[in-house]
Amino acid sequence: MNSKKMVITTLSLLLSALLVVGTINFAIDPLFQYHKPWFGLKPVITNERYQNAGIARNFDFKNVIIGNSYSENFIISDVEDVFEGKTVKLTASGSHILDWTYVLKILNERETPPVNILFNLDTGFIDFSDKQTKHEMPVFLYDNNYFNDVEYLFNFTLTRNYTFSTIKSNIKNEIPDYNTAFVWFDEKESGKEYVIKNYVASKEKEKINIQKIFYTDENLRLLSKYIESMSNTEFVFFFSPFSVLYWKDIVETGYLDEYKKEFEKIFSFMSQYDNVSVYFWTDTEMLKIISDLNNYKDTSHYKLQINKYILKRINSGIGILPKEESKWMTLLDIYFDYLKNFDYTILFT
């Protein structure tokens, strides 16, 4: 064999192999980057960060759930009952506003933007960085750069874990139920005893981080861009009902008033938009829920039943935040006074 033949054969073999794999990945497109499933295949949705971009770009829907673990336990059909219309779940565990903007950017570019987007509103708006995501984002899936799609089309891991897996699941007809996708709640790992045991154990290990940095202004700036440009979309935020045990640490480190001030900023920001509604509950029933650790898996993660309860309240319009500052200030006072005056010792009895 001469050198010329060697080079031509090598490059032909290599390009053919890449072409075959690339074509299969493009046709099956398990991450939905280019199209909805072809060949009558049912979508196999198993990875939020890798598949949210494609779903946001190519699926048909009216409503979207965005958020983190505090939104993952929503059953999609329950949300559809409230907002009427096909809903997709684009949550991501451990995500915060910066992560959400990747999805919002794609939603904003859609020809038919969503009618409603449901978000959880939690302390991550305040104390989580606007510059750094907690988990690595596969950014190449969220941008419009076709060159970096090579990372998707020529990738053993994605080919095996998604393309092959989509084909296999469809052949065996073992399609994961999308209605309960990413619901993590496990009844066995919850309840007061479970929460307290893990709380005590984590306190023994963890060094208490006294120094807090707030990023509220920066995070709200990230959101404002999309709230303003997606004026026909209703942004629905609900205040995640963390347990009082979560707030205990903030009270003890002397930061409660600071957090209240930051929530004032958030409410003030949100009140100025007509396409934003916030649900914030300070009634006795909700305060009772956050004071009962049996409703939780840990200090902040509530049971699946609480997600259902949240939707029920949203559906009935209970707890919608008034636009007038004096009114929502009163509600904030009620909530934070409750946290300030709560007898935290009873949690350990």
Binding site: V150, T157, T159
Partner: protein, 493 residues
């Protein structure tokens, strides 16, 4: 930019090789050099554009210095002054970027002070391009070089295949090649040999080194409970990782150079075949050894000033080698251990002729085992984050606690390429997955101890029927694995 990246394989290299040969085809030789220099700077700056300021200013300043040193008009005293300034600037900048914080940390510990650290980002490959330029400055001072044009010099320093992790090439072996008109024309024989070499180097890096790297990194996060079995596994894993990573990079550099008709010097000559530490250093990172021999060992007197001074000089060279590898006591201790082993080897050899004289096969085997064991043990020191961690590792290794292999390590070695292969092969597929670690270790062992090295394969390349299958197969496997995590070990040295 990484060699093992989509952008390099699909975009950068095809454009560069096409542009380079096209410009030469139209006899725009000077433009071709400028094009290659700019492309190399892009390659370098792709990591971090701020690095460009450092390398470009370093090239300009050193070129001016060498110009003065080679000038007939400058007085001897002035040249001496310039030489001292050039040495101080080069070694000083390396010192500040690489060693300042280490020095201050130790100073603070010893004298209980709290002097601030600089926390500077270490420019990639600074040790390599500084050494290349130092050699040119020293040779200019000696008057051993002819004056090069600025772009000849800039290309010698920045030529992208060897810029980040060597080999440490010298001006006299690179600049004449860039000027050689016979090398300006695309040569299919060189291209095929280079392509084959590049594929083999890439495979060494991506398939073997990166896989073992996952296991090693995982183990070194906590070495306290390894037990003898896991410690042995991790020790071997790192021994092969560092070799396949570093030599794989050098092989890729050689392959890329060859495709462009540029011969880049061999940097590894099957070092794990070495019998004795002296032999090992003739085979491992050959261009670094050459640099130290030429610019430290010989100026110190080499072996010309008696036996005792020879050993002192050897110790100094190994100490500097240790420091060169990184700002940590682990590297210094590793250098000292190798220096000690080198001197011991020489003493034994002098007395008994054990290493240099004809040896029986069994004696060779024993010496090989001892050398390989020493290398393995000292690589632990090299890899450890601190001396304490290294000793904790040694304690585990010699605890004779033969616990089961950590399943996490075995799973990490079940790479997706092997899994896909296993999925496609009926009946034996499960065995491939289960015994993936044996396949990887055995391949690494055979390739490093018994097989011909890539450098030899490039030099003696003659296309055979199986070359396209091997080359395309490895390239395909590697391209499909690029999206995994990867980092070259030698970047920071």
């Amino acid at each position: 930019m990484l060699f093992n990246s989509y952008i390099f394989v699909f975009l950068f290299f095809p454009i560069v090789i096409l542009g380079y040969f096209l410009l030469n085809r139209f006899k725009k030789f000077e433009f071709a050099k400028i094009f290659l220099t700019v492309a190399s700077l892009y390659f370098y700056g792709y990591f971090n554009w701020a690095y460009l300021i450092i390398i470009v200013s370093s090239i300009i300043v050193n070129y001016i210095f060498s110009g003065i040193l080679l000038s007939h008009k400058a007085s001897y005293v002035f040249k001496q002054l310039i030489f001292i300034v050039a040495m101080c600037l080069n070694i000083g900048s390396l010192g500040i970027f690489k060693y300042y914080d280490f020095f201050i940390e130790n100073f603070n510990t010893i004298f209980s002070t709290s002097l601030p650290l600089l926390n500077l980002l270490l420019p990639l490959g600074i040790s390599f391009f500084t050494f290349q330029q130092l050699s040119y400055i020293i040779d200019s001072y000696k008057g051993d070089v002819s004056k090069y044009s600025f772009f000849d010099y800039a290309l010698f320093v920045t030529y992208f295949p060897q810029l980040i992790a060597g080999p440490i090439v010298t001006h006299d072996e690179m600049v004449p090649q860039f000027a050689d008109l016979s090398k300006k024309k695309f040569n299919i024989d060189n291209f095929s040999a280079g392509l084959y070499g590049f594929a083999l180097g890439l495979g060494k890096k991506v398939i073997i080194a990166d896989t073992l790297g996952l296991v090693v990194d995982s183990a070194f996060t906590d070495v306290t409970n390894l037990g003898t079995t896991n410690a042995l596994l991790i020790m071997f894993a790192y021994t092969f990782q560092i070799y396949f990573d570093f030599s794989g990079y050098s092989d890729m550099a050689m392959g890329i150079g060859k495709m462009m008709n540029i011969d880049i010097i061999q940097n590894f000559n099957s070092p794990y075949k070495a019998i004795g530490i002296v032999d090992f250093w003739k085979r491992w990172h050959i261009t670094l050894t050459r640099f130290f021999t030429r610019y430290i060992y010989i100026p110190l007197g080499g072996n010309r000033k008696g036996e005792f001074r020879t050993y002192i000089n050897i110790t100094i060279v190994y100490l500097v080698s240790g420091i060169w590898h990184g700002a940590n006591w682990t590297f210094i201790l590793w250098g000292i251990l190798h220096g000690f082993a080198s001197i011991t080897t020489r003493l034994i050899d002098k007395k008994f002729g054990l290493f240099s004289q004809n040896k029986s096969k069994s004696l060779k085997a024993i010496l090989w085992v001892l050398t390989f064991a020493f290398l393995n043990l000292t690589w632990v020191m090299f890899r450890a984050d601190s001396i304490e961690q290294a000793f904790t590792f040694y304690k585990q290794l010699f605890s004779f606690n033969f616990i089961e292999i950590n399943t996490e390590y075995l799973e990490l070695m079940q790479i997706d390429g092997l899994k896909i292969l296993a999925d496609m092969i009926p009946f034996v597929g499960d065995y491939i997955k289960t015994y993936a670690y044996i396949i990887i270790f055995l391949s690494a062992f055979i390739l490093s101890v018994f097989a011909k090295n890539v450098s030899f394969r490039i030099k003696s390349f003659q296309a055979k029927w199986y070359h396209p299958i091997v080359t395309a197969g490895i390239l395909f496997w590697c391209i499909m694995s690029f999206a995994g995590e990867s980092s070259f070990l030698y970047w920071n040295f």
